[in-house]
């Protein structure tokens, strides 16, 4: 390592701090706004320190009864979003690990055809097939259901590719040893493969949870009724910049509640998340 002059290191710290200010400021600002009265928010500039309305605002948003957001409580929105994010994360991991297992550890006719069929879905994001997919949803009666929010999003070429890549690094001898030891396909899967995939699963879980939580176009399409909205969509519906009636202090509380859970997941599971991200995309 080449020595760095103290000045350069000082500059580096300064730049990083500036970066953190830029990155964290919008979130901090939202938090500050969520602790102010509506009157304070409507008269910029906003104070740079949190106000004294924290308990008031959060209490009102969480327990202030219905009527504010199209008759749906924030709790319900958080529940919807959590179900969707968990459903997508668990569902994607579940079906991807099974497909990858079949593709790597079995030899059967059409194996590569299936692989390519899964792979090509990478090139078909929702955005390029909006209307026909919506029609399928209507015909299957999946509009305004949790199944509708989750199932169409759990096919995953990325997760399948990741598991396939990982499985291919498992030495063939390990499989053979297990077979000699009397393990059939299920035993091998549960006793050997699943425990060895733990880190990969954890990493993928974080990424997919975020993916599910931050979905926008899909819940916008498949939910009509307000009580099936995710918190992101509901937030969008609450905000009207033209409308003087917008309850900004409550909007800010809702925004915080929409942001904090995924941030917590990322920060708490940072180690797996970083590894999963950098490895899965490369």
């Amino acid at each position: 390592m080449i020595g760095q002059s103290p000045l350069r290191i000082f500059i580096a710290h300064a730049m990083l701090l500036l970066g953190i200010v830029v990155v964290a400021f919008p979130i901090y600002y939202t938090f500050v706004a969520s602790t102010q009265t509506l009157q304070t928010i409507l008269k910029p500039p906003l104070p740079m320190l949190p106000g004294d309305q924290f308990w008031n605002n959060y209490g009102e948003a969480l327990f202030g009864g219905v009527g504010r957001m199209g008759g749906v409580s924030v709790g319900r929105l958080l529940l919807n979003t959590t179900i969707m994010a968990l459903g997508i994360a668990v569902g994607k991991i579940f079906i991807s690990i099974l497909s990858a297992y079949a593709i790597v550890f079995f030899r059967f006719p059409m194996r590569m055809v299936f692989f390519w069929l899964i792979f090509i879905t990478l090139m078909l994001p929702v955005e390029v097939r909006i209307l026909p997919t919506y029609k399928v949803m209507v015909e299957l009666g999946l509009i305004d259901t949790y199944a509708g929010l989750i199932i169409p999003l759990i096919a995953s070429a990325t997760a399948t590719l990741l598991f396939r890549q990982f499985f291919m690094t498992i030495p063939g001898e390990l499989l053979e040893a297990a077979r000699v030891d009397g393990a059939g396909p299920w035993r091998f899967f549960f006793d050997i493969l699943l425990p060895l995939s733990r880190t990969n699963i954890a990493a993928l879980f974080v990424i997919l949870f975020i993916y599910g939580w931050t979905q926008y176009l899909w819940p916008l399409l498949v939910t009509n009724s307000n009580d099936m909205n995710t918190i992101v969509i509901a937030l969008r519906k609450m905000v009207s910049f033209a409308d003087a009636d917008t309850q900004w202090h409550l909007v800010m509380v809702t925004a915080m509640l929409a942001i904090v859970p995924p941030i917590l997941v990322v920060v708490v599971m940072q180690r797996w998340f970083v590894r999963g991200l950098v490895e899965s995309e490369k």
Binding site: V23, L98, F106, L124, V128, R179, V232, I259, V267
Partner: protein, 289 residues
């Protein structure tokens, strides 16, 4: 390899069923519909081959949207990557607090693009935004709700802000992979720090940079629908109407099915091209180690 004959099919069945029902069937429908045109009453449709495509590609509104998308995607990618690279290089220099910096820089990854857009709009909203207030007190006529360029700047800022964390993590990984001995060799050869960065480090980061360029472009093309929808709704005028937003708007709001389907198919071609580039490049990367 297990010798089972039926089991593997059962294992791929769930993924395959979802793929066929929600990916291939709709994509096929989109292709088919892109070649149909409905009569004004929506009663009959006629097969018109590529007429819809010709119509779409000749439509000034579509071409405008194409231009908007290119400007938006490139600006977002460049800003997001530039800031991230700068921060990553700085983070490589410091020893103390590196982990803390990383933790504090990865938050926005977890923020939904639409929410990112709303936060930025809240900051820069002409009537209640504190930063808009600041800009106005500096004498800048700031109103992204009326000024198309300013609306675009706002969208790019929000979209780039959200993507900084992602790029930062990759650049840090890329920088850590640069062999320290190479940098030392360059230092012995008399290259100063700036020169070392541009002649040694940056070229070695090229694969990471290229990869991120593709990923950021895809992100800006698709994932930012939420930002556009939540912040500007394509306006003012059509100054921030991206391709994806237009597909949604024409198909869902204005119900012009043939055109929307044709636009979908064009998008599909773009994604296929980008994915192909990405994977060809990934393959090359394997060869070069």
């Amino acid at each position: 390899m297990f010798p089972n004959k039926i089991l593997p099919y059962l294992l791929v069945a769930p993924q395959l069923a979802i793929t066929l029902a929600f990916f291939y069937w709709p994509a096929g429908q989109a292709l088919y519909q892109s070649m149909l045109r409905q009569d004004p009453f929506g009663l009959k449709s006629k097969f018109v081959w590529f007429a819809n495509f010709r119509k779409v590609l000749a439509d000034p509104a579509y071409l405008n949207s194409l231009k908007v998308t290119v400007v938006f995607s490139l600006s977002t990618a460049i800003v997001a990557m530039g800031v991230a690279l700068l921060l990553a290089v700085m983070a490589e220099k410091v020893v103390r607090g590196r982990g803390l910096y990383r933790t504090l820089l990865i938050w926005p990854y977890a923020v939904a693009p639409a929410i990112a857009g709303m936060l930025w709009l809240f900051l820069f909203n002409p009537s209640i935004g504190s930063l808009a207030y600041l800009l106005r007190s500096l004498g800048i006529a700031w109103d992204p709700l009326l000024n198309g360029t300013q609306a675009m700047i706002l969208l790019v800022s929000a979209a780039a802000w959200k993507q900084i964390s992602y790029n930062f993590l990759f650049f840090v990984a890329g920088l850590q992979a640069v062999p320290k001995t190479l940098i030392e060799a360059a230092a012995i050869d008399g290259a100063g720090e700036t020169k070392r960065f541009w002649t040694i480090v940056f070229p070695l980061l090229a694969p990471t940079t290229f990869f991120l360029l593709v990923v950021n472009t895809v992100y800006a093309l698709f994932d930012t629908f939420g930002i556009v929808h939540a912040v500007t709704g394509g306006g003012p005028g059509k100054s921030t109407e991206t391709l994806v937003y237009k597909v949604y708007n024409d198909g869902f709001v204005n119900l012009i099915l043939g055109d929307s389907a044709a636009q979908s198919v064009i998008l599909m071609v773009i994604v296929i091209a980008l994915t192909a580039i990405q994977f060809r490049y990934v393959e090359r990367r394997v060869h070069y180690g």
